[in-house]
Symmetry: none
Subunit: 572 residues, 2 copies
């Protein structure tokens, strides 16, 4: 660390400081900075004096009360300066909301879904011009933007929430194969969660805990990861942070790792939950690394992620002046179902190291690998990571364990600074103590996991996957067959004419009219129109009914296409 | 704040610093301090240069990239110094002393705690070479700032978490009367939560719900508020949003109601949890409305909030160019214990309407009114609100029900746009379904609430309050006696000489040395040094031990003052 006397020695007296303090656009910060400078000088003098004394009286080696007090004042001042700088008192760290974030066209996917004819007042609400919105809403710009984005993203999900299919009670309700929930083992889970060990309560569970999560749970998670991620050595509970869900973790990570305006690479198709999460708070930009459905020499399978593609996206972004600082990977992948091989994974991590990128790797689908012939490799299993301090794993119980309603996510990282920063956000993303206890008991019960839950879950996933894919085969619909995940990524291009995102949206709506929710590729920022994700981890009866609705909608779509072609032919 | 040029001007160049750095018993701190000093000089120079430029080119008033970068480095360095001072790196010589003497001395309170012999690798981590730390830190500016703020805010709380007082097992642990938890009825709550109706599980509880909270819970909350807040008509479940705690709600409200840089009025002393929450995500500025302890013609009781004070603070802020858009009220008040009369409340709301302000009113202490002669008026009980679309109530179960570990908070507002915007943030602030179920059952059980919980809680609060206030009276310590809350706001000015915040901090640390946590007034942005908040809602045994520690610390403080005065007299 250099320490140049010329800087320190140049005249910098009271006049300078005082003058600046009065003119400064942020007088409070300046006041504190000047006070801090003086305190530092006093502190140095104090220590110097003590050293001279100690030379004379070497037995008095203790830290003096005076020094200690000065340190307290130093800390106090520094916290104040930090806090003011952060609060935007200098307006340097403060960002104005960019106009484009008011854009509610819903490029996150399915934006126009908001405008279904069923809710006219909501429609007019959303179509109101932004001028009017400013004067009428009485919310902040960000509040308005998020509210709009939320409606466009979750409107159909909310409709489903209000009107769920039930065989007896509501046979005309929605079946949701658009959302990624694992409903195959609710029976097992309900039974396990009902056992008496789950209902333990003590004082600590009812009171505030460490914001990183209760120590007992972080300890159990370290054990769990060590075992199921096949770590080469025991993992450290101090590297674990628990928040209420993986999306919360993703949001907080983008907040504490990247400055506003910095960018991260996201291979697309990409999980829209993260896209939404990244917009609520942080100002990070997602740079799409568009994968192609086509098989080529460089990409030997559909939608293959290669280092070449990552590198090209990064360099292109840099040419546009963007600061690319991170990469997010989902393994096993959502929505593709890809499981990265150990070598491939290592190549991605080496690439990230080369370009000094943080890697957020989401392994939430770890427990959904139903094809036993395909090995899954957690980054936690690797003997050595290319850049351990910049490799951060997140995991949750929503998918493998099928309990998305638990709102539970865990981070593992050896970057202590990151643990500390994410932990601070636990203040606003905490989980109830009783839920933490239940989670701990669940993860502890290896016998139940290994002998009951995992084998049953796997065989039911296989069965459901077989049923759905057989149906797709019968309909002649191409899909990726990758052996993990709760979904298939399928190609409905042949039902679009022309093959555009507008037509994809119309097809999506046709499914909706038949009370079936699916996820259109546009929501995943997929480059090519026509792809849909269909979740198969639902009850057999639901799958059966859903596939009837699906087939019916496609028949209708075909008729529509025929009619359209006839009209087109006539008008030529 | 004094600023003496003679201290700043004396020669203090490289030789001095370098020499000291090499001899210093804590070279890393010194290294950083010297680097910090230089950075401060550079920063001042930079700003001065910019001011000269701006005089020439007044249109370029923005904060330059260079300044911004220097601020980031400043923040970064300060965080490192804070972290090292906390870790006790300066007390390296003391490491040679017996291990028990490493215990708590606490610069800003328990600093050396981090170096307990139990955490050797943490120690080595913190003592790792500062150069390496500098290059490895690798978080965003905001991540660094929040991490530092978190540590300065929660450090002593974390020390308490690791070392709680237990009569048998850990009689030398911390007693925490600094945090606002109600531990008086844990027995009742544990019994109620253990009944079989609590352990119900169904599919919906295990899956994603409406992000605003499950419909069954919002329905029950509307009923609960209608009854216990004495609403003139049935309240609407569609106006309720459930998030994981009132601090989350406050944070989200500041995010969706106010644009970055806008300001809200916060009467001080003010709850620090909201201050912290407001800094994690939003960029809203809290404008202190400083209340005076003095009784005057205009303010007929201590720390009285008047419309005059609100108006003056608002107009002063406007004169400084600030956009004041909101007001936050806590009723019953934390830390004062004030309960606003219906008329007073109405005056505040009328004031807010006059100036077009949103009002966030926190009624979380509703269930802590232990003096039955003082009526509590919820804003929800008012026949008509001056500006209903801009009046937003939050409530939670942490205080009255004493279950802060549940992480539960509810918003009631008739502003539909706000419901929608806050609901969107439920995506990242959700609560587990099983916790929502338990909460619903609890609120439903009116018989238990009315006949068991409320009367027991009230009488235990009265008893604990009586015990503590009798002790304070015996010690001749003035305090506010207001009939609500879990705490007393007391005046320890007579133990400070001079009466400054530095001395207040030293007294706080003296309590900490005695293993007692209290909350100093500074944390509440109180204008006058010497005030402390003491929470009395703890077990009788804890209160008894705590008051012994309290008295002991005050005796020591008195001795310290006498000694100090003696020295001062001699030196005159």
């Amino acid at each position: 660390m250099s320490h140049q006397s010329d800087t320190l020695h140049k005249p910098c007296g009271q006049t300078k400081g005082q003058g600046l303090r009065n003119q400064s656009p942020h007088p409070q910060v300046m006041e504190l900075i000047l006070h801090l400078r003086q305190t530092i000088e006093d502190y140095i003098t104090q220590l110097e004096t003590r050293h001279l004394q100690q030379d004379r009286e070497p037995e008095k080696q203790g830290h003096s009360q005076a020094t200690r007090e000065q340190e307290a004042i130093l800390v106090h001042l520094m916290c104040q300066v930090i806090s003011l700088l952060y609060s935007g008192a200098t307006s340097s760290l403060e960002l104005q909301l960019p106009l484009h974030s008011l854009d509610i066209r819903g490029d996150v996917g399915g934006g126009q879904l908001a405008q279904s004819p069923r809710e006219p007042d909501q429609l007019s609400h959303q179509l109101s011009d932004s001028e009017a919105a400013f004067t009428n809403y009485d919310l902040s710009n960000h509040g308005i933007a998020i509210s709009a984005l939320y409606h466009s993203t979750f409107r159909d999900f909310m409709a489903y929430q209000r009107d769920k299919y039930q065989e007896e009670k509501n046979p005309s309700g929605f079946i949701n194969l658009g959302i990624n929930e694992n409903k195959l083992c609710v029976d097992l889970m309900t039974e396990r969660l009902s056992r008496s060990d789950m209902n333990y309560i003590d004082d600590d569970l009812l009171q505030y805990s460490d914001w990183k999560g209760h120590a007992f749970l972080r300890k159990e998670l370290a054990r769990f990861f060590t075992h199921y991620s096949k770590a080469p050595a025991q993992l450290d509970p101090e590297n674990v942070v628990v928040l209420n869900g993986c999306c919360s973790l993703f949001s907080v990570l983008t907040m504490v790792l990247f400055n506003p305006g910095e960018a991260i690479l996201a291979p697309t198709p990409f999980y829209p939950g993260f896209t939404f999460a990244s917009r609520l708070y942080s100002k990070v930009e997602l740079i799409c690394v568009h994968l192609d459905s086509e098989v080529t020499e460089a990409a030997t399978c559909h939608f293959q992620l290669t280092v070449g593609k990552l590198e090209k996206a990064l360099l292109d972004a840099r040419l546009e002046g963007k600061k690319v600082k991170g990469l997010v990977l989902i393994n096993p992948n959502n929505p593709l179902g890809d499981i990265y091989s150990r070598d491939t994974l290592n190549e991605y991590l080496e690439f990230a190291k080369r370009y000094n990128l943080h890697v957020i790797i989401d392994e939430i689908y770890m427990g959904t690998v139903f094809d036993e012939s395909i090995p899954f490799h957690s980054v936690l299993s690797m003997e050595s990571l290319p850049d351990p301090k910049k490799t951060h794993v997140i995991w949750g119980t929503s998918k493998g364990f099928g309990i998305s309603g638990f709102r539970f996510g865990a981070l593992y990282t050896t970057n202590k600074d990151l643990v500390s920063a994410v932990g601070a956000f636990g203040f606003l993303h905490g989980i109830s103590g009783i839920t933490q206890h239940k989670m701990c008991r669940l993860l502890q019960d290896r016998e139940w996991i290994d002998n009951v839950y995992v084998p049953t879950n796997r065989s039911r996933l296989q069965e459901a996957h077989r049923f759905i894919t057989n149906q797709l085969k019968a309909l002649g619909i191409p899909f990726l067959n990758r052996g993990s995940g709760l979904y298939v990524w399928m190609n409905l291009k042949k039902y679009l004419d022309p093959c555009t995102f507008e037509e994809e949206l119309l097809l999506y709506r046709r499914f909706l009219d038949h009370k079936l929710l699916l996820s259109p590729g546009k929501a995943y920022m997929c480059k090519e129109p026509g792809w849909f994700r269909l979740t198969f981890s639902d009850k057999p009866l639901h799958l059966k009914v859903a596939m009837q609705l699906f087939s019916r909608a496609l028949v209708e779509q075909k008729q529509y296409l025929v009619e359209k072609q006839r009209k087109d032919a006539l008008s030529e």
